[in-house]
Protein backbone atom coordinates (compact mmCIF):
# COMPACT_ATOMS: atom_id res chain seq x y z
CA UNK A 1 0.00 0.00 0.00
CA UNK A 2 1.38 3.39 -0.98
CA UNK A 3 1.90 6.08 1.59
CA UNK A 4 -0.44 9.07 1.59
CA UNK A 5 1.35 12.06 0.04
CA UNK A 6 -1.45 14.31 1.24
CA UNK A 7 -3.39 13.78 4.40
CA UNK A 8 -6.24 16.09 5.33
CA UNK A 9 -7.22 15.80 8.97
CA UNK A 10 -10.27 17.36 10.58
CA UNK A 11 -10.35 20.32 8.19
CA UNK A 12 -12.97 22.92 8.96
CA UNK A 13 -13.95 26.16 7.18
CA UNK A 14 -17.07 28.27 7.49
CA UNK A 15 -18.18 31.53 5.92
CA UNK A 16 -20.51 33.26 8.36
CA UNK A 17 -23.22 30.70 9.08
CA UNK A 18 -22.35 28.43 6.16
CA UNK A 19 -20.02 25.52 6.84
CA UNK A 20 -18.23 24.84 3.59
CA UNK A 21 -15.76 22.29 4.92
CA UNK A 22 -17.02 20.21 7.83
CA UNK A 23 -14.47 18.01 9.59
CA UNK A 24 -13.01 16.62 6.37
CA UNK A 25 -10.63 13.66 6.55
CA UNK A 26 -9.11 12.60 3.26
CA UNK A 27 -5.92 10.83 2.16
CA UNK A 28 -4.38 11.03 -1.31
CA UNK A 29 -1.98 8.15 -1.92
CA UNK A 30 1.24 8.54 -3.85
CA UNK A 31 0.59 7.86 -7.52
CA UNK A 32 -3.18 7.69 -7.42
CA UNK A 33 -5.79 9.80 -9.14
CA UNK A 34 -8.21 10.72 -6.42
CA UNK A 35 -11.46 12.36 -7.49
CA UNK A 36 -13.67 14.48 -5.27
CA UNK A 37 -17.25 14.67 -6.45
CA UNK A 38 -20.31 16.26 -4.97
CA UNK A 39 -23.31 18.40 -5.86
CA UNK A 40 -23.02 22.16 -6.43
CA UNK A 41 -22.17 23.98 -3.24
CA UNK A 42 -20.72 20.89 -1.58
CA UNK A 43 -17.50 22.81 -0.85
CA UNK A 44 -15.24 21.29 -3.48
CA UNK A 45 -13.55 24.49 -4.62
CA UNK A 46 -13.28 25.67 -1.01
CA UNK A 47 -11.42 22.47 -0.24
CA UNK A 48 -9.00 22.94 -3.15
CA UNK A 49 -8.41 26.56 -2.18
CA UNK A 50 -7.42 25.53 1.33
CA UNK A 51 -5.03 22.96 -0.09
CA UNK A 52 -3.42 25.45 -2.47
CA UNK A 53 -3.20 28.15 0.18
CA UNK A 54 -5.64 30.64 -1.31
CA UNK A 55 -7.93 30.18 1.72
CA UNK A 56 -7.02 29.64 5.36
CA UNK A 57 -8.91 26.86 7.20
CA UNK A 58 -10.54 27.58 10.57
CA UNK A 59 -9.28 24.31 12.05
CA UNK A 60 -7.58 21.07 11.09
CA UNK A 61 -4.31 20.00 9.55
CA UNK A 62 -3.10 19.47 6.01
CA UNK A 63 -0.10 17.13 5.95
CA UNK A 64 1.90 17.16 2.72
CA UNK A 65 4.63 14.53 2.81
CA UNK A 66 4.18 14.48 6.58
CA UNK A 67 4.53 18.24 7.16
CA UNK A 68 1.66 20.44 8.22
CA UNK A 69 1.38 23.13 5.54
CA UNK A 70 -1.52 25.11 7.04
CA UNK A 71 -0.38 28.74 7.25
CA UNK A 72 2.11 28.46 4.39
CA UNK A 73 1.42 31.04 1.67
CA UNK A 74 0.37 29.80 -1.77
CA UNK A 75 3.65 30.63 -3.49
CA UNK A 76 5.62 28.53 -0.98
CA UNK A 77 3.28 25.55 -1.44
CA UNK A 78 4.03 25.66 -5.14
CA UNK A 79 7.71 25.22 -4.32
CA UNK A 80 7.18 22.11 -2.19
CA UNK A 81 5.31 20.44 -5.06
CA UNK A 82 1.67 21.44 -5.02
CA UNK A 83 0.22 22.75 -8.29
CA UNK A 84 -3.28 23.99 -8.87
CA UNK A 85 -5.50 24.57 -11.86
CA UNK A 86 -8.45 26.89 -11.47
CA UNK A 87 -12.16 26.23 -11.98
CA UNK A 88 -12.49 29.58 -13.72
CA UNK A 89 -9.82 29.63 -16.41
CA UNK A 90 -6.88 31.59 -15.11
CA UNK A 91 -4.11 32.13 -17.62
CA UNK A 92 -2.19 35.28 -18.57
CA UNK A 93 -4.44 36.44 -21.39
CA UNK A 94 -2.11 39.07 -22.87
CA UNK A 95 0.86 36.74 -23.06
CA UNK A 96 1.63 34.10 -25.64
CA UNK A 97 0.98 30.46 -24.84
CA UNK A 98 4.71 29.81 -24.58
CA UNK A 99 5.24 32.83 -22.31
CA UNK A 100 2.50 31.56 -20.01
CA UNK A 101 4.22 28.25 -19.49
CA UNK A 102 7.73 29.74 -19.49
CA UNK A 103 6.65 31.97 -16.62
CA UNK A 104 5.63 28.90 -14.65
CA UNK A 105 9.01 27.30 -15.41
CA UNK A 106 10.73 30.54 -14.37
CA UNK A 107 8.99 30.46 -10.99
CA UNK A 108 10.91 27.27 -10.23
CA UNK A 109 14.24 28.26 -11.74
CA UNK A 110 15.74 30.39 -8.98
CA UNK A 111 14.74 33.97 -8.14
CA UNK A 112 13.56 36.38 -10.79
CA UNK A 113 15.57 39.45 -9.79
CA UNK A 114 17.26 39.26 -13.16
CA UNK A 115 16.77 42.60 -14.77
CA UNK A 116 18.81 42.63 -17.94
CA UNK A 117 18.89 39.44 -20.03
CA UNK A 118 15.83 38.84 -22.21
CA UNK A 119 13.74 36.05 -20.68
CA UNK A 120 12.48 34.83 -24.05
CA UNK A 121 16.02 34.05 -25.21
CA UNK A 122 16.62 31.67 -22.31
CA UNK A 123 16.59 28.03 -23.36
CA UNK A 124 16.36 27.08 -19.68
CA UNK A 125 12.84 28.49 -19.79
CA UNK A 126 11.60 27.83 -23.30
CA UNK A 127 12.76 24.21 -23.65
CA UNK A 128 10.96 22.86 -20.56
CA UNK A 129 7.97 25.05 -21.46
CA UNK A 130 7.75 23.53 -24.96
CA UNK A 131 8.00 20.05 -23.43
CA UNK A 132 5.00 20.81 -21.21
CA UNK A 133 3.06 22.18 -24.17
CA UNK A 134 3.77 18.94 -26.06
CA UNK A 135 2.37 16.95 -23.17
CA UNK A 136 -0.99 18.68 -23.53
CA UNK A 137 -0.83 18.89 -27.34
CA UNK A 138 -0.54 22.67 -27.64
CA UNK A 139 2.94 22.95 -29.16
CA UNK A 140 1.54 24.28 -32.45
CA UNK A 141 -0.12 27.18 -30.60
CA UNK A 142 3.03 28.25 -28.75
CA UNK A 143 3.26 31.71 -30.31
CA UNK A 144 -0.44 32.58 -30.20
CA UNK A 145 -1.73 34.97 -27.57
CA UNK A 146 -3.72 33.15 -24.88
CA UNK A 147 -6.68 35.47 -25.41
CA UNK A 148 -7.30 34.15 -28.95
CA UNK A 149 -7.46 30.49 -27.86
CA UNK A 150 -10.64 28.53 -27.37
CA UNK A 151 -11.92 27.76 -23.91
CA UNK A 152 -10.84 24.16 -24.17
CA UNK A 153 -7.34 25.10 -25.27
CA UNK A 154 -6.97 27.51 -22.37
CA UNK A 155 -7.87 24.72 -19.98
CA UNK A 156 -5.19 22.56 -21.58
CA UNK A 157 -2.81 25.48 -21.15
CA UNK A 158 -3.63 25.57 -17.45
CA UNK A 159 -2.60 21.94 -17.16
CA UNK A 160 0.65 22.71 -18.98
CA UNK A 161 1.36 25.57 -16.58
CA UNK A 162 0.70 23.32 -13.60
CA UNK A 163 3.00 20.63 -15.04
CA UNK A 164 5.73 23.22 -15.61
CA UNK A 165 6.06 23.67 -11.86
CA UNK A 166 7.10 19.99 -11.61
CA UNK A 167 4.45 19.14 -9.05
CA UNK A 168 4.32 16.10 -6.80
CA UNK A 169 0.58 16.60 -6.48
CA UNK A 170 -1.72 18.19 -9.04
CA UNK A 171 -4.85 19.87 -7.69
CA UNK A 172 -7.30 20.08 -10.57
CA UNK A 173 -10.42 22.13 -9.97
CA UNK A 174 -13.02 21.02 -12.53
CA UNK A 175 -10.69 20.82 -15.55
CA UNK A 176 -13.66 19.94 -17.78
CA UNK A 177 -15.85 22.85 -16.64
CA UNK A 178 -17.68 24.48 -19.54
CA UNK A 179 -16.28 22.10 -22.15
CA UNK A 180 -18.10 20.41 -24.98
CA UNK A 181 -17.96 16.62 -25.36
CA UNK A 182 -15.01 16.70 -27.79
CA UNK A 183 -12.95 19.00 -25.61
CA UNK A 184 -13.78 16.92 -22.54
CA UNK A 185 -12.66 13.75 -24.28
CA UNK A 186 -9.40 15.44 -25.23
CA UNK A 187 -8.85 16.55 -21.62
CA UNK A 188 -9.53 13.02 -20.35
CA UNK A 189 -6.87 11.77 -22.80
CA UNK A 190 -4.41 14.40 -21.59
CA UNK A 191 -4.99 13.53 -17.96
CA UNK A 192 -4.78 9.81 -18.70
CA UNK A 193 -1.42 10.35 -20.38
CA UNK A 194 -0.16 11.76 -17.10
CA UNK A 195 -0.71 8.46 -15.29
CA UNK A 196 1.81 8.11 -12.55
CA UNK A 197 1.28 11.74 -11.49
CA UNK A 198 -0.59 12.05 -8.24
CA UNK A 199 -3.77 14.01 -8.79
CA UNK A 200 -6.60 15.33 -6.71
CA UNK A 201 -9.36 15.92 -9.21
CA UNK A 202 -12.53 17.84 -8.47
CA UNK A 203 -15.01 17.27 -11.26
CA UNK A 204 -18.68 17.34 -12.19
CA UNK A 205 -18.37 15.25 -15.31
CA UNK A 206 -19.17 11.73 -14.09
CA UNK A 207 -17.94 10.00 -17.25
CA UNK A 208 -14.58 11.69 -16.81
CA UNK A 209 -14.41 10.87 -13.11
CA UNK A 210 -15.16 7.18 -13.61
CA UNK A 211 -12.73 7.02 -16.52
CA UNK A 212 -9.85 8.58 -14.58
CA UNK A 213 -10.16 8.00 -10.85
CA UNK A 214 -8.50 5.24 -8.86
CA UNK A 215 -10.48 6.30 -5.83
CA UNK A 216 -13.35 8.68 -5.29
CA UNK A 217 -14.46 10.72 -2.29
CA UNK A 218 -17.98 12.09 -2.17
CA UNK A 219 -18.44 15.49 -0.59
CA UNK A 220 -21.92 16.64 0.48
CA UNK A 221 -22.54 19.81 2.49
CA UNK A 222 -18.86 19.99 3.36
CA UNK A 223 -18.66 16.42 4.67
CA UNK A 224 -17.03 13.38 3.12
CA UNK A 225 -19.81 10.79 3.13
CA UNK A 226 -17.93 8.04 1.30
CA UNK A 227 -14.48 7.15 -0.02
CA UNK A 228 -13.61 4.13 -2.15
CA UNK A 229 -12.99 2.71 -5.58
CA UNK A 230 -15.39 3.79 -8.33
CA UNK A 231 -17.31 0.52 -7.93
CA UNK A 232 -17.59 0.88 -4.18
CA UNK A 233 -18.78 4.46 -4.48
CA UNK A 234 -21.28 3.52 -7.17
CA UNK A 235 -22.71 0.88 -4.87
CA UNK A 236 -22.76 3.05 -1.74
CA UNK A 237 -26.27 3.54 -0.40
CA UNK A 238 -25.63 7.05 0.98
CA UNK A 239 -24.04 8.23 -2.24
CA UNK A 240 -26.90 6.92 -4.38
CA UNK A 241 -29.31 8.74 -2.17
CA UNK A 242 -27.43 12.02 -1.79
CA UNK A 243 -25.86 12.43 -5.14
CA UNK A 244 -26.08 9.92 -7.92
CA UNK A 245 -29.79 9.50 -7.32
CA UNK A 246 -30.40 13.17 -7.93
CA UNK A 247 -28.17 13.22 -10.97
CA UNK A 248 -29.86 10.21 -12.57
Amino acid sequence: MAEPILSIQGLHKSFGGVTATDNVHLDVLDGETHAVIGPNGAGKTTLISQLSGALKPDAGRILFEGNNIVGQPAHKRSHIGLARSFQITSVFMEMTVLDNVALAVQAHDGHSFRFWTPARASKNLTDPAMACLKQVGLESRANDTASVMSHGERRQLEIAMALATKPKLLLLDEPMAGMGPDESARMVETLKSLSGKTMLLVEHDMDAVFALADRISVLVYGQVIATGTPDEVRADENVRHAYLGEAA
Binding site: A54, S78, A107, S112, F115, A119, A164
Partner: protein, 340 residues
Protein backbone atom coordinates in the same frame (compact mmCIF):
# COMPACT_ATOMS: atom_id res chain seq x y z
CA UNK B 1 -3.76 44.88 -9.08
CA UNK B 2 -6.42 46.59 -11.09
CA UNK B 3 -6.39 45.73 -14.70
CA UNK B 4 -6.30 48.48 -17.31
CA UNK B 5 -8.79 47.89 -20.06
CA UNK B 6 -6.45 48.45 -22.94
CA UNK B 7 -5.05 46.26 -25.61
CA UNK B 8 -1.51 45.77 -24.56
CA UNK B 9 1.46 44.57 -26.39
CA UNK B 10 4.30 43.43 -24.24
CA UNK B 11 6.29 42.19 -27.21
CA UNK B 12 9.19 44.39 -28.11
CA UNK B 13 10.96 44.35 -31.43
CA UNK B 14 13.70 41.81 -30.85
CA UNK B 15 15.16 41.97 -34.31
CA UNK B 16 15.93 44.70 -36.80
CA UNK B 17 13.30 43.82 -39.37
CA UNK B 18 10.55 44.66 -36.90
CA UNK B 19 11.81 48.24 -36.84
CA UNK B 20 10.45 48.76 -40.34
CA UNK B 21 6.82 48.63 -39.38
CA UNK B 22 4.45 51.56 -38.95
CA UNK B 23 5.28 51.54 -35.24
CA UNK B 24 8.99 51.27 -35.88
CA UNK B 25 9.00 54.20 -38.32
CA UNK B 26 6.81 56.33 -36.07
CA UNK B 27 9.08 55.65 -33.09
CA UNK B 28 12.15 56.53 -35.11
CA UNK B 29 10.60 59.73 -36.47
CA UNK B 30 9.50 60.68 -32.96
CA UNK B 31 12.98 60.33 -31.46
CA UNK B 32 14.84 61.89 -34.37
CA UNK B 33 12.30 64.71 -34.37
CA UNK B 34 12.81 65.29 -30.68
CA UNK B 35 16.56 65.44 -31.25
CA UNK B 36 16.53 67.74 -34.28
CA UNK B 37 13.54 70.08 -34.19
CA UNK B 38 14.40 72.01 -31.00
CA UNK B 39 18.10 72.12 -31.91
CA UNK B 40 17.44 73.53 -35.38
CA UNK B 41 14.85 75.93 -34.01
CA UNK B 42 17.34 77.16 -31.42
CA UNK B 43 20.08 77.86 -33.93
CA UNK B 44 17.68 79.55 -36.34
CA UNK B 45 16.54 82.01 -33.68
CA UNK B 46 13.48 80.35 -32.15
CA UNK B 47 14.71 79.57 -28.61
CA UNK B 48 11.10 79.21 -27.45
CA UNK B 49 10.93 75.69 -28.87
CA UNK B 50 13.83 74.40 -26.86
CA UNK B 51 12.09 75.45 -23.65
CA UNK B 52 8.95 73.57 -24.59
CA UNK B 53 10.96 70.55 -25.72
CA UNK B 54 13.01 70.40 -22.53
CA UNK B 55 9.86 70.39 -20.43
CA UNK B 56 8.34 67.81 -22.77
CA UNK B 57 11.31 65.45 -22.58
CA UNK B 58 11.51 65.69 -18.78
CA UNK B 59 7.81 64.92 -18.42
CA UNK B 60 8.26 62.09 -20.94
CA UNK B 61 10.92 60.52 -18.68
CA UNK B 62 8.52 60.76 -15.74
CA UNK B 63 5.72 59.25 -17.85
CA UNK B 64 8.00 56.40 -18.99
CA UNK B 65 8.74 55.65 -15.33
CA UNK B 66 5.02 55.67 -14.58
CA UNK B 67 4.40 53.38 -17.56
CA UNK B 68 6.69 50.79 -16.00
CA UNK B 69 4.33 50.36 -13.04
CA UNK B 70 1.04 51.45 -14.62
CA UNK B 71 1.30 50.01 -18.11
CA UNK B 72 3.44 46.93 -17.60
CA UNK B 73 2.75 46.26 -13.94
CA UNK B 74 -0.93 47.26 -13.71
CA UNK B 75 -0.20 49.37 -10.61
CA UNK B 76 -2.19 52.54 -11.17
CA UNK B 77 -0.16 55.09 -9.23
CA UNK B 78 -1.83 58.45 -8.80
CA UNK B 79 1.08 59.83 -6.80
CA UNK B 80 3.99 59.97 -9.18
CA UNK B 81 4.21 63.77 -9.03
CA UNK B 82 5.59 63.33 -5.51
CA UNK B 83 8.70 61.69 -6.98
CA UNK B 84 9.11 64.60 -9.41
CA UNK B 85 8.88 67.01 -6.48
CA UNK B 86 11.31 65.02 -4.36
CA UNK B 87 13.80 65.05 -7.22
CA UNK B 88 13.45 68.79 -7.76
CA UNK B 89 13.86 69.59 -4.06
CA UNK B 90 16.92 67.30 -3.96
CA UNK B 91 18.49 69.83 -6.32
CA UNK B 92 17.00 72.93 -4.71
CA UNK B 93 17.66 72.21 -1.05
CA UNK B 94 21.41 71.44 -1.29
CA UNK B 95 21.81 74.46 -3.60
CA UNK B 96 19.93 76.66 -1.10
CA UNK B 97 22.22 75.61 1.76
CA UNK B 98 25.29 76.01 -0.38
CA UNK B 99 24.22 79.61 -0.99
CA UNK B 100 22.77 80.58 2.39
CA UNK B 101 24.60 78.28 4.83
CA UNK B 102 23.29 75.82 7.47
CA UNK B 103 23.10 72.04 7.01
CA UNK B 104 26.67 71.90 5.73
CA UNK B 105 26.34 68.12 5.30
CA UNK B 106 24.02 68.42 2.31
CA UNK B 107 25.08 71.88 1.07
CA UNK B 108 26.39 71.35 -2.44
CA UNK B 109 26.12 72.45 -6.05
CA UNK B 110 27.63 69.15 -7.21
CA UNK B 111 25.39 67.56 -9.83
CA UNK B 112 26.38 64.00 -9.04
CA UNK B 113 25.53 64.57 -5.39
CA UNK B 114 22.22 66.27 -6.16
CA UNK B 115 21.07 63.74 -8.76
CA UNK B 116 22.24 60.87 -6.55
CA UNK B 117 20.29 62.34 -3.66
CA UNK B 118 17.20 62.71 -5.89
CA UNK B 119 17.36 59.06 -6.92
CA UNK B 120 18.08 57.79 -3.40
CA UNK B 121 15.35 59.77 -1.63
CA UNK B 122 12.78 58.99 -4.33
CA UNK B 123 13.64 55.28 -4.15
CA UNK B 124 13.42 55.28 -0.36
CA UNK B 125 10.07 57.07 -0.48
CA UNK B 126 8.86 54.53 -3.05
CA UNK B 127 10.04 51.65 -0.87
CA UNK B 128 8.24 52.87 2.25
CA UNK B 129 5.00 54.00 0.60
CA UNK B 130 4.99 51.16 -1.92
CA UNK B 131 5.28 48.57 0.85
CA UNK B 132 2.03 49.96 2.25
CA UNK B 133 0.20 50.81 -1.00
CA UNK B 134 0.81 47.38 -2.55
CA UNK B 135 -1.14 45.75 0.28
CA UNK B 136 -4.21 47.20 -1.43
CA UNK B 137 -5.71 46.67 -4.85
CA UNK B 138 -7.68 48.55 -7.48
CA UNK B 139 -9.29 51.84 -6.50
CA UNK B 140 -7.78 51.59 -3.02
CA UNK B 141 -4.31 51.51 -4.54
CA UNK B 142 -5.07 54.58 -6.65
CA UNK B 143 -6.38 56.51 -3.65
CA UNK B 144 -3.59 55.59 -1.24
CA UNK B 145 -0.84 56.48 -3.73
CA UNK B 146 -2.57 59.83 -4.22
CA UNK B 147 -2.80 60.28 -0.45
CA UNK B 148 0.93 59.72 0.00
CA UNK B 149 1.60 62.15 -2.84
CA UNK B 150 -0.50 64.83 -1.16
CA UNK B 151 1.28 64.13 2.12
CA UNK B 152 4.57 65.17 0.53
CA UNK B 153 2.87 68.19 -1.02
CA UNK B 154 1.63 69.46 2.35
CA UNK B 155 4.88 68.58 4.08
CA UNK B 156 6.78 70.84 1.67
CA UNK B 157 4.12 73.56 1.95
CA UNK B 158 4.69 73.61 5.72
CA UNK B 159 8.48 74.07 5.57
CA UNK B 160 9.00 77.85 5.79
CA UNK B 161 12.77 77.63 5.20
CA UNK B 162 12.26 76.46 1.64
CA UNK B 163 9.61 79.04 0.87
CA UNK B 164 6.58 76.94 1.79
CA UNK B 165 3.75 77.68 -0.59
CA UNK B 166 5.77 80.31 -2.46
CA UNK B 167 8.50 77.91 -3.51
CA UNK B 168 12.22 78.34 -3.81
CA UNK B 169 14.42 79.88 -6.49
CA UNK B 170 17.45 77.82 -7.52
CA UNK B 171 20.22 80.39 -8.04
CA UNK B 172 22.81 77.94 -9.29
CA UNK B 173 22.09 74.91 -11.42
CA UNK B 174 23.65 71.51 -10.78
CA UNK B 175 27.35 71.59 -11.58
CA UNK B 176 28.84 68.84 -13.72
CA UNK B 177 32.43 68.89 -14.95
CA UNK B 178 32.48 70.06 -18.56
CA UNK B 179 28.72 70.60 -18.74
CA UNK B 180 27.12 74.00 -18.25
CA UNK B 181 23.40 73.46 -17.63
CA UNK B 182 22.66 77.18 -17.94
CA UNK B 183 23.24 76.66 -21.66
CA UNK B 184 19.80 75.59 -22.97
CA UNK B 185 21.29 73.26 -25.59
CA UNK B 186 23.47 71.50 -23.01
CA UNK B 187 20.50 71.07 -20.68
CA UNK B 188 18.36 69.77 -23.50
CA UNK B 189 21.08 67.35 -24.58
CA UNK B 190 21.32 66.00 -21.05
CA UNK B 191 17.52 65.56 -20.86
CA UNK B 192 17.26 63.93 -24.27
CA UNK B 193 20.12 61.50 -23.69
CA UNK B 194 18.60 60.71 -20.29
CA UNK B 195 15.33 59.86 -22.04
CA UNK B 196 17.12 57.49 -24.43
CA UNK B 197 18.95 55.80 -21.56
CA UNK B 198 15.76 55.45 -19.51
CA UNK B 199 13.91 54.01 -22.52
CA UNK B 200 16.69 51.46 -23.00
CA UNK B 201 16.67 50.51 -19.32
CA UNK B 202 12.89 50.05 -19.32
CA UNK B 203 13.12 48.04 -22.56
CA UNK B 204 15.63 45.66 -20.97
CA UNK B 205 13.63 45.50 -17.74
CA UNK B 206 10.28 44.59 -19.24
CA UNK B 207 11.76 41.82 -21.38
CA UNK B 208 13.85 40.33 -18.58
CA UNK B 209 12.70 37.63 -16.19
CA UNK B 210 11.83 40.38 -13.75
CA UNK B 211 9.70 42.07 -16.41
CA UNK B 212 7.84 38.85 -17.17
CA UNK B 213 6.94 38.56 -13.49
CA UNK B 214 5.53 42.07 -13.14
CA UNK B 215 3.56 41.68 -16.37
CA UNK B 216 2.20 38.37 -15.14
CA UNK B 217 1.17 39.92 -11.84
CA UNK B 218 -0.70 42.68 -13.67
CA UNK B 219 -3.98 40.93 -14.24
CA UNK B 220 -3.61 37.78 -12.28
CA UNK B 221 -1.80 37.96 -8.95
CA UNK B 222 -3.56 34.84 -7.63
CA UNK B 223 -2.28 32.83 -10.55
CA UNK B 224 1.23 34.13 -9.95
CA UNK B 225 1.07 32.91 -6.37
CA UNK B 226 -0.26 29.53 -7.50
CA UNK B 227 2.68 28.95 -9.84
CA UNK B 228 5.09 29.91 -7.09
CA UNK B 229 5.83 33.64 -7.26
CA UNK B 230 5.68 36.02 -4.36
CA UNK B 231 4.28 38.73 -6.63
CA UNK B 232 4.38 41.39 -3.91
CA UNK B 233 8.16 41.74 -3.65
CA UNK B 234 8.54 41.95 -7.42
CA UNK B 235 5.83 44.59 -7.67
CA UNK B 236 7.47 46.54 -4.84
CA UNK B 237 10.83 46.39 -6.64
CA UNK B 238 9.22 47.70 -9.82
CA UNK B 239 7.63 50.51 -7.82
CA UNK B 240 11.01 51.48 -6.33
CA UNK B 241 12.71 51.46 -9.75
CA UNK B 242 9.90 53.57 -11.17
CA UNK B 243 10.12 56.03 -8.27
CA UNK B 244 13.89 56.33 -8.66
CA UNK B 245 13.61 57.13 -12.39
CA UNK B 246 10.88 59.66 -11.70
CA UNK B 247 13.04 61.25 -8.98
CA UNK B 248 15.81 61.62 -11.56
CA UNK B 249 13.32 63.34 -13.89
CA UNK B 250 12.47 65.66 -10.98
CA UNK B 251 16.13 66.63 -10.61
CA UNK B 252 16.16 67.56 -14.31
CA UNK B 253 12.93 69.51 -13.84
CA UNK B 254 14.44 71.50 -10.96
CA UNK B 255 17.38 72.42 -13.19
CA UNK B 256 15.06 73.40 -16.01
CA UNK B 257 12.62 75.60 -14.09
CA UNK B 258 15.21 76.94 -11.59
CA UNK B 259 12.18 77.60 -9.46
CA UNK B 260 10.66 74.84 -7.41
CA UNK B 261 7.39 74.92 -5.54
CA UNK B 262 4.97 72.42 -4.04
CA UNK B 263 2.78 73.11 -7.08
CA UNK B 264 4.95 70.76 -9.18
CA UNK B 265 3.91 67.78 -7.03
CA UNK B 266 0.21 68.57 -6.81
CA UNK B 267 -2.10 65.64 -7.52
CA UNK B 268 -3.14 67.21 -10.81
CA UNK B 269 0.44 66.75 -12.03
CA UNK B 270 0.14 63.04 -11.22
CA UNK B 271 -3.03 63.07 -13.31
CA UNK B 272 -1.18 64.70 -16.20
CA UNK B 273 1.43 61.95 -16.15
CA UNK B 274 -1.36 59.38 -16.22
CA UNK B 275 -2.92 61.20 -19.21
CA UNK B 276 0.38 60.94 -21.07
CA UNK B 277 0.68 57.22 -20.42
CA UNK B 278 -2.92 56.40 -21.35
CA UNK B 279 -3.17 58.82 -24.27
CA UNK B 280 0.14 57.62 -25.69
CA UNK B 281 -0.40 53.93 -25.03
CA UNK B 282 0.13 52.07 -21.76
CA UNK B 283 2.54 49.12 -21.91
CA UNK B 284 4.11 50.37 -25.13
CA UNK B 285 7.72 51.41 -24.64
CA UNK B 286 7.38 54.74 -26.47
CA UNK B 287 3.69 55.24 -25.67
CA UNK B 288 4.35 57.74 -22.88
CA UNK B 289 6.70 59.73 -25.14
CA UNK B 290 3.97 60.05 -27.77
CA UNK B 291 1.61 60.96 -24.95
CA UNK B 292 3.94 63.67 -23.66
CA UNK B 293 4.28 65.17 -27.15
CA UNK B 294 0.51 65.15 -27.62
CA UNK B 295 -0.05 66.58 -24.18
CA UNK B 296 2.41 69.47 -24.53
CA UNK B 297 1.30 70.32 -28.08
CA UNK B 298 -2.38 70.21 -27.16
CA UNK B 299 -1.68 72.36 -24.12
CA UNK B 300 0.20 74.92 -26.23
CA UNK B 301 -2.37 75.01 -29.03
CA UNK B 302 -5.54 74.91 -26.93
CA UNK B 303 -4.30 77.43 -24.38
CA UNK B 304 -3.74 79.80 -27.30
CA UNK B 305 -7.48 79.73 -28.02
CA UNK B 306 -8.92 79.77 -24.55
CA UNK B 307 -8.01 80.11 -20.91
CA UNK B 308 -10.23 77.11 -20.25
CA UNK B 309 -8.15 74.77 -22.39
CA UNK B 310 -8.61 71.94 -19.90
CA UNK B 311 -12.17 71.50 -21.13
CA UNK B 312 -11.46 70.62 -24.79
CA UNK B 313 -8.42 68.73 -23.60
CA UNK B 314 -10.55 66.62 -21.27
CA UNK B 315 -13.00 65.89 -24.07
CA UNK B 316 -10.17 64.74 -26.35
CA UNK B 317 -8.86 62.49 -23.59
CA UNK B 318 -12.28 60.93 -22.95
CA UNK B 319 -12.78 60.29 -26.67
CA UNK B 320 -9.36 58.74 -27.02
CA UNK B 321 -9.89 56.42 -24.04
CA UNK B 322 -13.32 55.39 -25.34
CA UNK B 323 -12.44 54.88 -28.97
CA UNK B 324 -8.70 54.40 -29.32
CA UNK B 325 -7.72 51.25 -27.54
CA UNK B 326 -4.08 51.22 -26.49
CA UNK B 327 -3.66 54.94 -27.11
CA UNK B 328 -1.55 56.35 -29.94
CA UNK B 329 0.94 53.49 -29.94
CA UNK B 330 -1.89 50.97 -29.99
CA UNK B 331 -3.38 52.77 -32.98
CA UNK B 332 -0.03 52.74 -34.77
CA UNK B 333 0.56 49.05 -34.19
CA UNK B 334 -2.92 48.22 -35.57
CA UNK B 335 -2.27 50.42 -38.62
CA UNK B 336 0.98 48.53 -39.12
CA UNK B 337 -0.80 45.19 -38.99
CA UNK B 338 -3.36 46.30 -41.53
CA UNK B 339 -0.61 47.27 -43.96
CA UNK B 340 1.45 44.15 -43.45
Amino acid sequence: MANLETTQNSQMPDNWTSLFTATGWANLILLVGLALVPTIAYYTGHPFWIDISTRLVILAIAAVSLNLVLGYGGMISFGHAAFLGIGAYAVGVPAYHATYGEFEAIASYNGFFQFGLAIAVAALFALITGAICLRTKGVHFIMITMAFGQMVYFAIVSIETYGGDDGLVIDTRSEFPGLDLSNPIALYALCFISLLVVLYIVHRLVNSRFGMVIQGAKGNAERMNAIGFNAYIYQLTAYVISGAICGYAGALLGNFTTFISPEMMDWSRSGELMFMVILGGAAYLLGPVFGAVAFILLEEILSGFTLYWHLPFGIILILSVLFVKGGMSGLLSRLGKRDG
